[in-house]
Amino acid sequence: MGIIINLDKILEREGMKSNELAEKIGITTANLSILKTGKAKAIRFSTLEAICEILNCQPGDILEYLDEK
C-alpha cells in the first residue's frame, strides 16, 4: 500500500465536492480522481500547496504512510 491519500476524508470534513476542488486548484476531475484513487505516480509541490491552501490542511493530513508489513 505505502502512501495513501486521505483526500476524501478532508473533502468530507470541509464539505467540498471533488469537481469543486479540481476547479479551484486548476486540475481536471480525471486527474483528481487519479490522485484520490492512489494511481498517481507523483504529486507536484504546487498542486499539494494549492490543495492545502483550499482545504485548510497540512500535507500530512492528505498523505499518509502505511507500513506494508
Binding site: 486540475i27 483528481l32 487519479i34 490522485l35 498517481a40 505516480k41 507523483a42 504529486i43 507536484r44 498542486t47
Partner: protein, 174 residues
C-alpha cells in the same frame, strides 16, 4: 520532419513488397528448376548469388538455396511488418506508446536472425554444393551492416522503453 518520415514510411513499405516479390522469385526459381532462369543466369541478381564458374552448379543445391532464401525473405518481410506503423505513429507526434519497445525489438531480432541465417545458408550451400563459397567474403559487409543495424535497434528499443516509462510517470504526476 514529416516529409522525412513519409519517405521513411514509403521505403519500409517498398522494402516489404520487394522482400515478398524476391521470395516469390526465389520460390519460382526453385519450382522451375532453373530452366527459365538459364537465360537470366547472367543477370545482376543471380550473379550476386552464383558467380560464373567453369563447372555446372548442383541443381539440388540451387533448389535448396532458393527455397530457403525465399523463406528467409518472407521471414524478414514478416518481421518488418510493424515498421510502417511505428513511423506513422512518430509522424503523428505519438513518440512513445505502449508495446512500441516490443515492436522495435521484434524488428531488430528479425533483422539479426535474418542476417545470421542468410550467412549460414550461404556458408552451408557453399560448403555442401560448391555454390558460391567465395561469395561469403562478399556477403560479410552486408551481414555486418544488418547485424549492427539490428543491435542499434535493440539499443533504440531500450531508449523507447525508458521513454514510455517517463511519459507514463509524467502523465500520472498531478
Amino acid at each position: 520532419m514529416k516529409w522525412h518520415l513519409s519517405i521513411l514510411k514509403l521505403i519500409s513499405i517498398v522494402l516489404i513488397i520487394v522482400l515478398i516479390l524476391s521470395a516469390a522469385i526465389n520460390i519460382f526459381g526453385a519450382i522451375q528448376q532453373f530452366e527459365f532462369f538459364n537465360d537470366l543466369a547472367n543477370s545482376f541478381y543471380f550473379k550476386s548469388y552464383f558467380p560464373k564458374r567453369s563447372f555446372e552448379y548442383s541443381l539440388t543445391g540451387q533448389i535448396i538455396f532458393y527455397a530457403i532464401n525465399a523463406l528467409l525473405f518472407l521471414y524478414l518481410a514478416y518481421g518488418l511488418r510493424s515498421a510502417p506503423k511505428l513511423i506513422s505513429e512518430t509522424s503523428k507526434e505519438n513518440l512513445f506508446y505502449q508495446h512500441q519497445a516490443i515492436e522495435i525489438r521484434k524488428i531488430s531480432s528479425a533483422i539479426i536472425v535474418y542476417a545470421k541465417l542468410k550467412f549460414l545458408l550461404i556458408l552451408c550451400v557453399g560448403a555442401f554444393f560448391l555454390i558460391a563459397p567465395f561469395n561469403i567474403i562478399g556477403f560479410i559487409p552486408s551481414f555486418l551492416i544488418l547485424y549492427i543495424l539490428g543491435k542499434v535497434l535493440i539499443l533504440f528499443s531500450k531508449i523507447v522503453e525508458k521513454g514510455e516509462l517517463i511519459k507514463q510517470e509524467n502523465e500520472l504526476t498531478i
